[in-house]
Symmetry: C2
Amino acid sequence: MRILVLGGDGYLGWPTAMYLSARQHEVGVLDNFAKRGWELELNVEPLMPIHTLQDRVTAWEEVSGHRLPCFVGDLCDYEFVRNVVCDFRPDAIVHYGEQPSAPFSMIEQRRCVLTQMNNIVGTLNVLWAMREHAPACHLVKLGTMGEYGTPNIDIEEGFIEIEYKGRKDVLPYPKQPGSFYHLTKVHDSHNILFACRIWKLRSTDLNQGVVYGIATDETVKDPRLATSFHYDEVFGTALNRFCVQAVAGIPLTVYGKGGQTRGFLNIRDTLRCVELSILNPPQAGEYRVFNQFTELFNVLELAETVKREAEKLGCTVTINHYPNPRIEAEQHYYNPRHQKLLDLGLEPHLLSEVLLDSMIKAVQERRERIKPGVILPRTRWNGGSQPADAEEASAKS
Amino acid sequence: MRILVLGGDGYLGWPTAMYLSARQHEVGVLDNFAKRGWELELNVEPLMPIHTLQDRVTAWEEVSGHRLPCFVGDLCDYEFVRNVVCDFRPDAIVHYGEQPSAPFSMIEQRRCVLTQMNNIVGTLNVLWAMREHAPACHLVKLGTMGEYGTPNIDIEEGFIEIEYKGRKDVLPYPKQPGSFYHLTKVHDSHNILFACRIWKLRSTDLNQGVVYGIATDETVKDPRLATSFHYDEVFGTALNRFCVQAVAGIPLTVYGKGGQTRGFLNIRDTLRCVELSILNPPQAGEYRVFNQFTELFNVLELAETVKREAEKLGCTVTINHYPNPRIEAEQHYYNPRHQKLLDLGLEPHLLSEVLLDSMIKAVQERRERIKPGVILPRTRWNGGSQPADAEEASAKS
């Protein structure tokens, strides 16, 4: 199949492109390197050095023999999107091409508006280009489990049958996203559902949990093929950040009580879920949602697991309950369904001691690159961005 | 109270500003005249000539003795929004300042993206300016009953208690909007709910039905104070369009079977609902939704009512079932609640023969200005904009 990966320079986009390319698909990668610019603005960078997309494409061709046509441009530029769709004629589009950080979207007005515009317009342009030039193409869109929030009832996969005052209907699951970033994924979901309904497009919306890990069968083939590992407060996620803190001798920062429960998955499972979606496309006009995670953890459990494993490797680890910069429930019911991808054949890689051990060792090899100053949260949901120093003063251990 | 009306040059914004001004509030009007530009692009105009905002403000001061400070600029320009909020220091902001047409948003990619950007960014900017400079201000936001679509269960006011597998929660009512325009109102609702939750802002989201009528106590005081009456396929709504068709001897265009049921209200009730919301503000942090309509009609009933009244006035009227340019259910369950504004004291002006009689007479006085070419639908939900001629060929009477 011909598969176009939007955001092909990113943490998940790049490994997805190689994974699909290794499996004999014709894969193109598209990116405008916006995230690299945002990293520069905030003075954060991945722990392992990341080569340019063009150099990685060259390295992949050397290693695998497969070419990855590269399209450099902005999804918010409709002429560009239309030209790429016409040139590449994708059977499937995997859409990671969005601003991916909740804290980034909360820093200030400018970055909030940038996030919403970038994500919403990019996705609208993809939908219009599909409608005009590739109506049979399958849009595999990366959403987030964060679209649902933490309701006090079970979370279903995208839709819920509601019985109310003696009548019934199956309706879109009510959304309670927790940041301006998460809101963009909700807006995208509504826009995509509508486009499928009126234009008979087909789409799979992957409501993904928190991804951890950096190693895939392809990234380990050559150091130039590495994908980005973020541990900073803006682009890093909990497990990655904890591993870096454990190695650097910085207390693990659990936000608030740490009872926040979330779905997690290994990066290898992300790639397999995308592949399963592509291999089992929806019908014309069908919009479907898969909840894409394999395990539930609360944040404190995760910190304790990292502490245990890191101590085996000789680290000295403490855990800090940090004032929660976000506004979210710290103790809550959480029972999200995640059956559809298992039914398609997903065999989860669960979080194991082996995985944590190898992640911590990989961090240890790069410990000299850790910037401790970028880890503590500066972005507060109710007060914009503040210097980390002010935060440190009020930190409780 | 100090009340800022966004979109103060529009069909509802202008009468709202005068209504509140007449009731001793200090009212400011803000507009960038974008809609007048869109009218020029599409070669449509209101049936009655509309003076410039500045001239209407002057006329209102002559008639009433009340000044209306006028702010000319774009809600998408954050510096402008912030400066106005700082200068005017509103206690309440009434937000009509959005692209208001569903067909406009469906014409093509450019106008779809324009609609979503204009509406979403404008509202985000208002929220950020309130947070930074007017955190106690009450945002009265105009939404639409079209956010809900036509679910097979009762529609509540914004939230619904769901009992599911033995557990309960009160969650945002699931939304099924029917155009890229209606989607913007859903996106706004999600963004506003979130801003109220994290920043303790307060907002009333008025999910309004289809408004009809042009006469208010203020507009009738002087011809220069008239508000816009649209009958074209882009900015006109069903009842207004039917009155014009009846007078012009053009068959009333019922889209499809005409069983589409919607909530309707008189323009006078819109003004009263906004006033009731302002006089009874929500608490800090509270986001509430009022369903704002007074009666339900289906489109065919409405056409038959107009036909009956217009014939009494000597018109010869036929009704055409036109191929539906929209994608929507033409027969459906519809039972939306609309209790909260009644509880606050709303006394509805129901659609009566008297009202229709006076509307039809007002149209008759301006019949020489009717442009028959702008009435038939060109914008198809599944196929962009088409010349009216092609439509006429397939019209069924």
